[in-house]
Symmetry: C2
DNA sequence: TGTGTTCTCGTAAACGTTTACGGAAAAACG
DNA sequence: CGTTTTTCCGTAAACGTTTACGAGAACACA
């Protein structure tokens, strides 16, 4: 179906055009442009001038083919299903940081989107197998993640935003300290007199749900509070899921006096359920959200939440990824780095 | 700096491997895979089986080089400056629709991000000149947009989300009917008894700001209300800008009784200014926002707003773009389509 | 002057595809 | 059986790069 596209560009000059124009060989032109040593100083000068004059820039397909590298990194962005109208604002600042650091290394960032419903595996395979990118960055890691299994089995370079139990220690990862956030949230609530604290998290095997719960449990134990399974609930990771599961928890015979939500969308749905029951966050119940978004801030009452520093995280993960790839890393060779970053509590009106 | 990356992939089999394995020529293999007519039915069968067995998939760089087309479309995503913590949720559903339709044509979507502050021109040139994509999609169109000038001068295929005065009728565009939304907003407010209605919009030469104002003016005239320049104000397109300009307008001697904000972030900042002055939207003043986001919905009071249907718009713009490219379009040849879609009023509590 | 080094450049192959062309074999037709 | 058409496949060039190799010229040194 597709033939030549954009072939009529007047600005599409090749290395051959430069060579012909200067009456030298294409080899010399290429060496001059790539800054190799074995080219005379003033032929290099002439080549660079001609390149500017003829508006030359290298064809990336040709270069990729020859070098076996595309100089682009793929980020797999997966919209959540049921996330009807608007997507996750979470990723934009992260991507901003990621892209900025990659640009320092002259690498392009390419965001690959999947259909909202289906899982990413197919799209990921496509990127890898057709060699559209040199490495990929994964997000929304699951506890057992077949994308990670696939990539490490294939020996394809990648890094993850979020940890997983899959793949061992073979890839760099950067995660938020959900465990500590869960712990601190409980700490804060206990200090304010709460003993019946509910934990609401997404199902789907998303790994941060487990980490959060670990911290929650650990803090309860430290305070000598028995963990009540009836206060721990999973739901679909969107507003409807949060509504549903919150309603369930609040209808149990022994209600919690505080809820920690592991996701902002679920918190919003939960608050809707609370409102319908006449229960006011900040007055009748305490609410804390683990990952802050603008919605938490503008909601009424404004929700107390733990906030990550997304843009620096994006920058850092780019560095970690690059350091793990032999062809990019310095003489020391590849290094696998894993980091877990703290969150900052933003105290507002809901607890 | 970069050498071979991922070259050790066990799954990287080429068309030569297939040919050797089957003892036929690479030409035949290629023809079989591409479904050409001049290949025997069972050699095609054997090729397809071998391709599956050896896990073959074509190297995109090789294919792109030969065909002069990359089979990918670039979307230029530009985070607004000062948009500190979280970015625009606006684009995710739009991109979801765009990607879905492109996938139907076996095209990849590649989102190219720029630095938050600087303008996109440089990054755009890079994509075009290194021929990383076959076409691009632009957003945040300005009234005079040098990206559009550049692309149409270069003869590079593109489409825009939003109109512009640049480039003439040479490219497809899909826009929201800001004019009508501004008109309807005034209508609604006048029907509720307002006569002093302020219009607050972004500066930056963003085109939708002009369109909105046209509708606003037209509706006022229709109702026989004189346009008061003191009620029209421009500000930086973020919360701080909205705060600033709203405070200014409210400090004028003859205050408005209603405000139409042309941007959600500015509306949020404006409401903060109002709150500090003890003015309550929905009681002491009416507030309407032109483009709805989840923030409008969760804000307190929930903001009345006009909502676009972003995902269908993404799908439609993909179709329009493809129809405009000779190599993609059907036998009728290229067609330039321009569409303007209506918004839906979501009445909430602020007016 | 002869020999060895250093600079500089051209030649050609290679990366993985697709495709125009031609030719051999098979089929169709008289 | 001879001729023409059809079917099928191999050959080779081409897309735009990079780079290993070698060779000529200039230079240094004895």
């Amino acid at each position: 179906m597709l033939a030549k596209v954009g072939g009529e560009l007047s600005l599409a000059s090749s290395i051959h055009d430069l060579a012909r124009h200067l009456n030298i060989s294409i080899g010399t032109v290429s060496r001059a442009l790539n800054g190799r040593a074995d080219v005379n100083a003033d032929t290099r000068q002439r080549v660079l001038e001609a390149a500017k004059k003829l508006n030359y820039s290298p064809n990336q397909s040709g270069r990729s083919l020859r070098q076996g590298a595309t100089r682009s990194i793929a980020f797999m962005l997966q919209p959540h299903p049921g996330d009807q109208q608007y997507g996750e604002p979470f990723f934009i600042p992260f991507l901003t940081g990621l892209q900025a650091r990659l640009a320092d290394y002259d690498l392009d960032l390419m965001v690959v989107m999947g259909e909202p419903g289906q899982y990413q595996q197919e799209r990921l395979r496509r990127v890898v197998e057709t060699r559209r990118a040199d490495a990929v960055v994964l997000a929304n890691t699951r506890r057992e993640d077949d994308r990670i299994d696939y990539l490490s089995k294939a020996g394809f370079p990648f890094a993850t935003l979020g940890r997983s139990q899959s793949g061992g220690d073979t890839y760099p990862s950067l995660d938020i300290d959900f465990e500590r956030a869960g712990d601190e949230a409980v700490d804060r609530l206990v200090a304010r007199g709460h003993r019946r604290i509910a934990a609401i998290r997404p199902s789907h095997d998303l790994n941060f749900g487990y980490l959060f719960l670990d911290g929650y449990r650990k803090a309860l134990e430290r305070h000598g509070i028995e963990v009540d399974p009836g206060l721990i609930a999973d739901g679909f990771i969107n507003e409807a899921g949060g509504y549903q599961v919150t309603a369930d928890v609040m209808l149990s015979k022994d209600r919690p006096t505080a809820i920690i939500f592991n996701n902002d969308a679920m918190a919003l749905g939960g608050c809707k359920a609370l409102a319908e029951m006449g229960i006011r966050p900040g007055h009748d119940i305490a609410v804390i959200v683990i990952v802050d978004t603008p919605l938490c801030r503008y909601f009424s009452p404004a929700l107390t939440a733990f906030r990550p520093s997304l843009e620096p995280m994006g920058q850092r993960l780019a560095e970690m990824l690059l350091a793990s790839i032999p062809a990019f890393a310095g003489p020391e060779g590849p290094r696998i780095i894993r980091e877990v970053w703290p969150l900052e509590l933003v105290a507002r009106d809901s607890d």
